[in-house]
């Protein structure tokens, strides 16, 4: 599945449902469906918050035994993997919420990658199906 969302503002839920529907048709487990839904939401939130893009291309597929989602946007250069992970051992009064979404993706997916190519941010995450 490959689809462009333009304008993208306010379409986060639609993107999530499109990816989840594709995953359901691909026969992924309920557990993986939960993880895919969550990670797509987190990546989309990041893109919409930081890149300022007006469009996002979302490509979803199963290849080499992996479920893969790629997001491409034309916003400002923003590497979501460029910051340190939040300190998850910090005490309550020092805990913030920055970086949690990407941390969730890193831990729930098998791989996450970012590159900036031809003026576009490209973020890919994948998870082995078996």
């Amino acid at each position: 599945m490959k689809k462009r969302y333009e304008p993208v503002d306010g379409r986060n839920a639609e993107i999530i449902e499109d990816v989840v529907s594709f995953a359901q048709m691909s026969g992924v487990t309920q557990d993986l469906l939960f993880k895919i839904r969550l990670c797509v939401e987190e990546v989309e939130e990041n893109i919409l918050c930081y890149s300022g893009t007006t469009w996002v291309d979302v490509e979803v597929g199963v290849k080499g035994g992996c479920f893969t989602v790629t997001f491409k946007d034309g916003g400002i250069h923003f590497d979501p993997l460029g910051n340190n992970d939040p300190d998850i051992a910090a005490p309550l009064d020092e805990r913030g919420i920055g970086g949690l979404g990407i941390l969730i993706c890193k831990k729930m997916m098998d791989s996450v990658e970012y590159r900036f190519e031809h003026g576009c941010n490209i973020f890919t995450m994948s998870k082995r199906l078996f």
Binding site: A13, I16, E42, E45, I88, A89, L92, L100, G101, I104
Partner: protein, 100 residues
């Protein structure tokens, strides 16, 4: 997302039902306002029917926990589903919020 809050005079119980995500987080934040009031609160969040939370939901739970501690109270999250618990575990939230 539904939040049902009851109080038996000593303890406040909130039953959470549904998903805390990008579309529901704003309403959820409003729904829990009553839990942000009063001194020495004793709060139990029943998570039996909490199906999902994203990092936006974690932000609300963190805010609530900080508010409860600041008022000299305590809060527990009970009966959490395994997938939701995993989100709390991998982000370290299990260390700062009591889950039973």
């Amino acid at each position: 997302m539904e939040v049902t809050i009851t109080n038996d005079g000593t303890k406040t119980r909130a039953v959470l039902k549904g998903r805390v995500d990008t579309t529901t987080v704003e309403g959820f934040q409003k729904d829990i306002v009553p839990l942000m009031e009063g001194e020495n609160p004793d709060i139990e969040l029943d998570c039996s029917d909490l199906d999902y939370t994203s990092s936006q939901g974690l932000r609300i739970f963190l805010m609530l926990q900080k508010s409860v501690i600041a008022r000299g109270g305590k809060m527990v999250m009970a009966n959490m589903k395994s997938q939701v618990k995993e989100v709390f575990d991998i982000t370290g939230f299990s260390n700062i919020i009591k889950i039973i």
